[in-house]
């Protein structure tokens, strides 16, 4: 549960911090913290031209990257499609009803916090029977399956995973009635946590 407010408050804190740095230290000094923190800038915040100044555009492209997994680069690879087919056959996977909260650029690929929650019911005749976690670029794509029952009252999982490289992460809820819902996010770990 605490993952959500913590991340949000950190972001808004940084949002307030950045202009303060710029005013206090001047444009040149401001480049360094801005380059470090640029990736965490909430989408829609003014870009301040930092990516352009650095000449590589990486800060801007990270912040502007869509979180829907619709990038060409984010399409499931053949290996990911195979995992999905083995799990769900040819059932349709729809976006929605799943919330996936992760830091966008975790400093350590060995320890990446993941928070998954679904607003789907947990009633005896209609519940989330499994939450699957897939990391497209990991050696083991299907990182974990969490099999749940209505006794939990809410489909919510908080854990920590390893990530090898920049990758799309998919949180998938499978209901007892056979529906499949997911949320996807692209995550940029700073180090390789898988070897």
């Amino acid at each position: 549960m605490p993952a959500v407010p913590v991340v949000l408050s950190r972001r808004s804190f940084l949002g307030r911090l950045l202009p303060a740095f710029g005013a206090a230290l001047g444009a040149v000094a401001a480049l360094r913290p801005a380059a470090l923190l640029g990736g965490r800038r909430p989408p829609g915040a003014p870009s301040r031209g930092i990516g352009a100044l650095r000449g590589d555009g990486s800060a801007a492209s990270r912040a502007d990257a869509p979180r829907t997994g619709r990038d060409a680069d984010d399409e499931p690879s053949e290996a990911v499609k195979k995992v999905l087919r083995e799990l769900f056959g040819d059932r349709e996977i729809r976006t929605g009803h799943v919330q996936l909260d992760m830091p966008e650029d975790p400093p350590d690929g060995r320890l990446v916090p993941v928070f998954i929650e679904s607003d789907l019911p947990m009633a005896p005749d209609d519940y989330v029977k499994a939450v699957h976690l897939l990391v497209d670029k990991n050696p083991d794509i299907h990182v974990a399956a969490f099999e749940l029952t209505p006794a939990l009252g809410l489909a919510s999982i908080d854990t920590r995973i390893k990530m090898r490289a920049t990758s799309v992460v998919r949180a998938i809820a499978e209901t007892s009635r056979g529906e499949v819902w997911w949320a996807t996010r692209k995550i940029f770990p700073a180090t390789n946590g898988c070897g």
Binding site: L111, L152, T159
Partner: protein
């Protein structure tokens, strides 16, 4: 390898953390933790020797006699695996978690759900 790192590399005690006060029928957040290396099998020691895969692959959560959740993991879960999930506290009963790793290691922890 320092003594502290060596100690951390050995699988050890599992823990379950429950809130201090639990109301009947409320949604309670359970936090579970096990010290375990969760080796992927993809790393070497500093001497170049491969480190064999050693990771928890099955976690069973029982509330009283009922199995309420079961987690199937790979070595993609971080070292000292932590997982938190809710339960609907509708009865006083022990909550038990059993972790099983790929080398046959079995680790258990339990906590009592008691209403206050």
């Amino acid at each position: 390898m320092s003594a502290r790192r060596a100690a951390r590399a050995e699988p050890g005690q599992g823990r379950i953390l429950l809130p201090e006060s639990i109301q009947r029928g409320s949604l309670v957040h359970v936090r579970t933790l096990l010290s375990h290396p969760m080796h992927t099998g993809l790393f070497n020691t500093p001497d170049g020797e491969p480190i064999a895969a050693h990771f928890v692959q099955d976690v069973v959560v029982r509330y009283g006699e009922e199995t309420i959740a079961r987690f199937r993991w790979t070595s993609g879960i971080s070292r000292d695996p932590f997982v938190s999930f809710p339960i609907r506290a509708d009865r006083e009963a022990p909550l038990r978690v059993t972790w099983t790793d790929n080398l046959g290691g079995v680790f258990e922890a339990s906590a009592e759900v008691r209403f206050s």
